[in-house]
Amino acid sequence: MSRADPLAVDNRYGSSGIISAVAFLLALGFFSWSLIRAGFSFTELWEGLPNMAVIAGEMVPPATDRMLPMLDSILVTFQMAFVGTVIGVLISFPLALLAAHNTSPHPLIASSVKGMISFFRTVPDLAWALFFVASVGLGPFAGTLTLMIDTIGFCGRFFAEAIEETDPGPSDALAAIGVHPIDRIVVATLPDALPGMTASGLFALEKAVRSSVVLGLVGAGGIGAELAVSMEMFRYDQAATIILMIFVLVIAVEKLSNAARNGLRMLRKQNV
């Protein structure tokens, strides 16, 4: 009987049989086919490089002639994101309570609400934007509705997870003395879940600010519409200004959000 060599080096790239080899070849074949279908071309990339250089050159210096309308648009973009997130968070809150297994009145309700939240999350925001543009018309309202649905999909899931991850002990202790389930949720479950829920809400705001820029491209209002117009009119200097404004807005929201999360973490550490 052969014995394994105790000093043998672990052969992590070693052959694992014919099935692995076939699987590897199939994956490689699919990747090659996908490259063709995706139109990936080094030639076109090479030929496009001078155009990129020309556009980049025309972007410098960024235009300042339409600063006021642009600032107004970026403010509208942020306001769309803010309103969509706030309303989305408010709707996510009761939905998460119905979806979390430890607070839901019935497992069937929990499964149904989780399914609805998954649907909101898995349909891309551009699809929602097209749906709302067709329903309520062009403009920021369609974008706000899109961001609201997107936030419900995001926050509904993470709020429910934060609720499910709470320590059941304090709630069970209150159940033992006959406290009503709603009171137990308010005084025992939510204080434990709130830091996680707040962090998710702030991430949702960051996500909404980034999404709101793209939504304008399909007519759902905000700075995205300005960007689309500038690109279509070959005003790359104006486009550069808009891109810089988007960059500043996204970074500012991320920094504020990080600061708020850190503040909450410090506050929690002081109390525990």
Binding site: A175, I177, G178, N271
Partner: protein, 277 residues
């Protein structure tokens, strides 16, 4: 050394106190519990009664089902058969609403205090008032009325913690947290106080202080006390009666005044060998 084959006489440790009292606060009849149909009963045919104002300790080896028995007494776990009566009301047939009303008169102190760590001691004690009066008034001290806050402060004074009322519970010691849990139970003005190994995580000094506090509350306020302890001395010093649960049945039911520590140690030793054999 005791022989391994030695078995206990049928009622070696049981006395006449096993008979039901006329003024029983709690009456347990033929209680059985198992967690799984394929496993043996945790305990079976457990019957005892506790008189109003009486202090009773439950002792027994690990895994004997002491905590399960306490939880069955308030239907935190549903027993498989048998009945539990509290002031002649049968718990086993109660609806969820009646059960909540019933539990509001029973304080339950857990092995781990199970308080809300981010909230102050006062807020945690206020939650005890939710047992009798559901609604926002018991949620925080800001929503509670002045009278409720004063009552909560009084409960904290009773357990000697009024000076840390505003401190978050996460910053209190284990002994202090357990005292806050007792204060929360007192907020209910309970007729019965159940404590599941309340001194399990405390040092000897804090354990003695806590057991003394429970005993004082029981004698001064007439609260019926039922507690589980692994400290045999707590059973003899702080209880009127001692129940011994082992091998799935109640093997001991005696007045603590008629027991000495050696007898209890014998009970444990014999039970250990009986279970092993």
């Amino acid at each position: 050394m005791l022989p391994l084959t030695r078995t206990l006489p049928a009622d070696a440790f049981c006395s006449s106190s096993r008979q039901s009292r006329t003024s029983a606060a709690v009456k347990v009849e033929a209680l059985c519990k198992r967690y799984d149909t394929n496993t043996p009963n945790i305990f079976s045919d457990v019957s005892f009664s506790i008189g109003t104002g009486e202090s009773v300790a439950i002792i027994g080896p690990n895994g004997a089902g002491k905590s399960t028995l306490l939880k069955c007494c308030v239907r935190l776990l549903d027993p498989d058969s048998g009945s539990v009566f509290f002031n002649d009301q049968c718990l086993t047939t109660m609806t969820a609403r009646d059960l909540r009303r019933f539990r509001s008169r029973i304080g339950f102190v857990f092995q781990k205090h199970q308080l809300i760590s981010g909230l102050s001691a006062l807020s945690n004690v206020l939650h005890g008032s939710l047992a009798g009066r559901p609604g926002p008034r018991g949620w925080t001290r800001h929503l509670a009325g002045r009278q409720t806050c004063e009552q909560a402060m009084h409960c904290l004074e009773l357990v000697g913690l009024s000076e840390v009322a505003q401190r978050p519970v996460g910053r209190l010691s284990g002994g202090q947290s357990q005292r806050v849990a007792i204060a929360r139970a007192l907020m209910q003005s309970p007729a019965l106080l159940i404590a599941d190994e309340p001194t399990a995580s405390l040092d000897p000094q804090a354990s003695e202080a806590l057991m003394g506090l429970l005993r004082d509350l029981s004698t001064k306020s007439g609260i019926t006390l039922l507690f589980v302890s692994h400290e045999l001395r707590h059973a003899t010093d702080y209880a009127d009666r001692v129940l011994g649960l082992s091998g799935g049945t109640l093997q001991l039911d005696r007045a603590s005044s008629s027991l000495c520590l050696n007898e209890l140690q014998d009970f444990f030793t014999l039970e250990k060998y009986r279970v092993a054999s």
